[in-house]
Symmetry: C2
Subunit: 210 residues, 2 copies
């Protein structure tokens, strides 16, 4: 195998490991898979990383890239548009592998300290990004949410739970269902103030007709 500097080699390995994780999952992926994908010897891989370290690094890189794409990439659009787009797309098939990794990390992160620390970091970053988006929406007056942090945490927890239900073979919750349920929860948490007032008027009118 053509020689490279240590830094370049490390980058190659992390990138390949990330692809292997997407293909096989955190649990099924092996060091030999990564080495084979790069056409390098298994010994070289272990010269740079141990598996726990490499797996955590590759996982963190994937999650970070995904978060940037989902939350930070289109900061020019209004918060409600960004959130609506996220709700519509987050359960699309192309993200199955990522949610699968997330669920696996919730399990393996308990026994693998590297993975646990990485998951915690990713968790906090997602939480932060989501809460910021909700606060931005408050500022733009597209909704009114008095507990952005709490809402962000609840929505993220709901998403991972829904992902778990959706990803099962023979799942009894379809992607469309998951999107719908997430949309309902989003409306609970981030109700548009205008709609709230309208709904209040409506219910008052109903009582009046009784």
């Amino acid at each position: 195998m053509r020689r490279k500097s240590a830094a370049d080699r490390r980058e190659d390995i992390i990138g390949a490991a990330a692809q292997v994780l997407l293909d096989r999952g955190l649990l099924a992926a092996t060091t030999r898979d990564v080495a084979e994908r790069l056409g390098m010897s298994s010994g070289l891989l272990n010269h740079y990383f141990n598996w726990s370290e490499l797996r955590s690094l590759a996982f963190g890189r994937l999650v970070d890239a995904d978060r940037s794409r989902a939350l930070s990439s289109h900061n020019h659009e209004p918060a409600d548009v960004v959130l609506a787009a996220f709700v519509q797309t987050c359960f699309a098939p192309e993200y199955d592998a990522l949610w699968r990794l997330w669920i696996e990390a919730m399990d393996l992160g308990r026994s693998d300290a590297n993975l646990g620390a990485q998951l915690r970091r990713c968790d906090l970053a997602w939480h932060q990004g989501f809460a910021d988006l909700i606060r931005r929406g408050n500022g733009e007056r597209v909704w009114r949410c008095n507990d952005a942090d709490g809402a962000a945490l609840r929505l993220i927890a709901l998403i991972s739970g829904l992902a778990g239900l959706t990803l099962m073979p023979n799942a009894h919750v379809s992607r469309q269902d998951a999107i719908r349920h997430l949309g309902v929860a989003v409306r609970y948490e981030c109700a548009a103030p205008v709609q709230q007032a309208a709904r209040r008027r409506l219910s008052r009118a109903k009582r009046a007709t009784k």
Copy 2:
């Protein structure tokens, strides 16, 4: 080892396997752990079960028992009391092992067909039980929920997501936080009609003073 009938032996093994699962988790538990706990040879265990089958059976038994305890055991109490008790207790330390199994099953159930089928069954049963409880509350007029099935699914998904956050070592979500967040979601989904009216009056009064 003292001889037993096939049926008794199978029961012994399933029971011991359930305890091993609680102790070590779905992933770390091994056939040897179960055999050792019963003081029997590993060969005998494999005479009655293969590991995939046994693990799924033991998992299902644990989840079923827990569901009975949480939802069906005190049917004489009002639905809101049952639900409130569930919210307060579901994240208690004694159920950590169970939630851990649930999260592990979301992962392993994708590659282990037995476990996948068992998880699906348990999922549907929990969903059914939860939705029934919500509908009972509708009948008792302790709340008004127009989408009991949807609410049940969202709450279960939220719970598993919160459990995943809570169970991590160095979790940034405490048990108290999890209870609070679940309580908030329950109020979203099953708002007491009386409280709704009171809140409406309150917000009207606020606008009047401005």
